[in-house]
Symmetry: C2
Subunit: 421 residues, 2 copies
């Protein structure tokens, strides 16, 4: 038996105990894990230092090294995250619906854990504690497959979490690390029946690989080519404030805006204000001919609008770049978003009730926003208290995934001898 199959079987056995654990037990484990992380800060930071040194030796960009690096404050933040999870409602056992059937059978649909969840992620070691905590609270045993560049950090963190789980009376195998070689991840993606769900967290390439190679059901997360559409009836000052926030407040994340659409009737006025403000904020605009023309006279030398290619409109930049086009109508904006969007978050800025209603109905994205920044599509902002990722697929969960999204349901049917006739 391969190592992955063996890990998955152990996860399955552990999942039976975890599924029946009370909220009190799970919360005690989360608190024990948090305390253990803090106690072992030196060990974790020392292990991480090896990963960081290896990354620097390999010429890794400093921004990636920063995501990889841990210090006592970051370990403390991981611990605090686990404690926060302990304070959230347990999704397991929630009765989603229930009634008595005409024949007297009592029907209840009840939330239950998936069982075994696999998380495949990139070089952020804080995801290790975060994902382990969310899976534990939702009653799922977890197989954590992090990046090889964070292997020493993840190994140290997983060892600490396992010890704390065991000390609370849960099986250590509720949390397991998975070897980082390619063969192991391939096997993990083929472990249908042993692993209930795989969740990839990371860039588009990682997600695409998992989606296309996995026979285990996958929840696709996180690719965001988000749009702001400035309607004919928009408050243009409000539109600019929102656009700047959506593009520049944190450009590297999936809910940052990547594309601006402006209704032709307000394009001249809006672009005359927006293009200099975007240039000032360091944003490179990739515009269609109308936007390029509008930029000619309004931005300072060296900050010209660049001509957009077809590819630009389908690109998630994750940087201070923005594609931009003028559209003839709200319908044209909808068509553009259907063609180029990724179904993450799209916003309309308008004072028109009819336009808002039409946009929110016609745009089929995980989140459609009226008169606010796209940056709000987030489990924390939505009030979920925790988030394992943002689903951009339509099956099971769509948008920010909190604890309830980490569960399945079962029907419990109670009778007194009913038979079918």
């Amino acid at each position: 038996m391969s190592e992955i199959i063996e890990l998955a079987r152990r996860a399955r056995v552990a999942s039976y105990a975890l599924a029946e654990a009370s909220r009190a037990t799970k919360d005690a484990a989360l608190h024990a894990m948090a305390a253990a992380l803090r106690e072992n800060t030196d060990t974790i930071v020392a292990a991480n230092a090896k990963d960081v040194a290896a990354a620097r030796d390999a010429g890794t960009p400093e921004s990636t090294v920063d995501r990889l690096a841990l210090n006592p404050a970051r370990v403390d933040a991981m611990a605090a995250g686990l404690e926060q999870l302990a304070g959230l409602t347990d999704p397991v056992g929630e009765v989603v619906r229930g009634y008595t059937l005409p024949n007297g059978l009592e029907l209840r649909q009840v939330r239950v854990p998936f069982g075994v969840v696999g998380i495949i992620y990139e070089a952020r070691p804080n995801v290790t504690a975060d994902a382990a905590g969310i899976c534990l609270k939702s009653g799922n045993a977890v197989l954590l497959r992090g990046s090889s560049s964070a292997a020493a950090s993840n190994e140290a963190i997983v060892a600490v979490l396992r010890g704390a789980a065991e000390a609370t009376g849960l099986p250590a195998d509720v949390v397991q690390g998975v070897p980082t070689d390619r063969a192991a991840v391939k096997e993990l993606m083929q472990a249908r029946g042993l692993v209930d769900v795989l969740i990839p967290r990371g860039g588009a390439g990682l997600i695409q690989t998992v989606v296309s190679e996995s026979t285990v059901p996958v929840i696709e997360t996180g690719v965001g080519n988000c749009h702001v559409y400035v309607d004919a009836d928009a408050d243009l000052e409000l539109a600019l404030k929102i656009l700047l926030n959506a593009k520049t407040q944190r450009p590297s994340v999936c809910n940052a805006t990547e594309s601006l659409l402006v209704h032709a009737s307000v394009a001249d006025e809006f672009l005359a204000a927006a293009l200099p403000a975007l240039a000032e904020a360091g944003v490179t605009v990739h515009g269609d001919p109308a936007v390029v023309a509008a930029g000619k006279d309004v931005v300072a030398a060296g900050k010209d609008v660049v001509a957009a290619t077809e590819e630009d409109f389908g690109t998630e930049y994750n940087s201070l770049d923005l594609s931009a086009a003028v559209v003839e109508s709200l319908e044209a904006a909808v068509q553009h978003i259907r063609r180029y969007g990724s179904g993450h978050t799209d916003a309309i800025i308008t004072r028109s009730q009819a336009a808002a209603r039409r946009f929110t109905t016609a745009v089929d994205s995980a989140a459609v926003v009226v008169n606010a920044s796209t940056r709000f599509t987030d489990g924390g902002e939505f009030g979920f208290g925790a988030e394992i990722g943002i689903s951009t697929q339509k099956l099971h969960a769509r948008g920010p995934m909190g604890l309830p999204e980490m569960t399945s349901t079962k029907y419990v049917v109670t009778g007194e001898g009913q038979i079918r006739t």
Copy 2:
């Protein structure tokens, strides 16, 4: 562009109109479809006669021919099914949750259609109308890929349904048939992004193929190796009544019981009554050594209990066969179900509250039943009014799938200029 890609693109376009159609429009289309089926009964039955003749020529078993055959009464039943759908609540637009965030953003999670659904099914032409109706009511454009053996019937039915949809003002392409060749189904399974969900309906082989070859998200349906466990504290008369119903009332369906487990402390008494009754009902029991021994003296000559193989316990017979074993404890019954069950429906017969609670907690199946027949796991019986299949997977939907299970959700976020700080 291949034919399937072209069909899927047309379905996508049609899905935009259908997603915005009011309940009134959709219900009018369902009534028009029902009326058109009735008006075209002769055409449909004549087309079906060709399929039936071809099936008989090919030496198809008569039970399969019966599932394939249509007559005026069966066409009328298809029409009545569509009319019944018109009477059900529209799932689209339901607000699943909603509240106002601390910053004043109004958050609503709203049910929306998937978009384009593919159904892959076997030689029952009534599924064509049934699946088309459920998809239409839930706002989804459908690609119907039936069996080649029902091609003439399906073509006739699809033509009638498309005509009726168009007459109501919906695009005809909300319902489309898919060619039945293997190349076409392969392309359908690879049309990720164009098709949102695939639902296979049929035998284990079909479902396995779709699950393993599809990159489109799949909802797995219908394989049922269902158990009845007779507990130490069972009312044995009640247990026998339920067992006979669960096994024999309709043995060909997925919620029929395939395996009996009996607690050792009541095995002698229960089996002494159950084995003759099962034999009387025409059931062949495949027993473990204890059940074989119990059968020695109690059943009539020629109706002996057969020795079960390991394979028997994992088999969905769909016939008047039953595997049976004596277990030493409730825990052993749970272990047995975890090992051999398919996660469809499993029942305990007991007077003990503790045993019922332990069984319903520990057995992780779509439905767990206390003191009733396994045959109740069904959309109609559960009060859903319609059913597209019974999901045995954990992602998205589990158990009978009604109209809400044929939808996704989106978040609609309404503000007045909120930005993230």
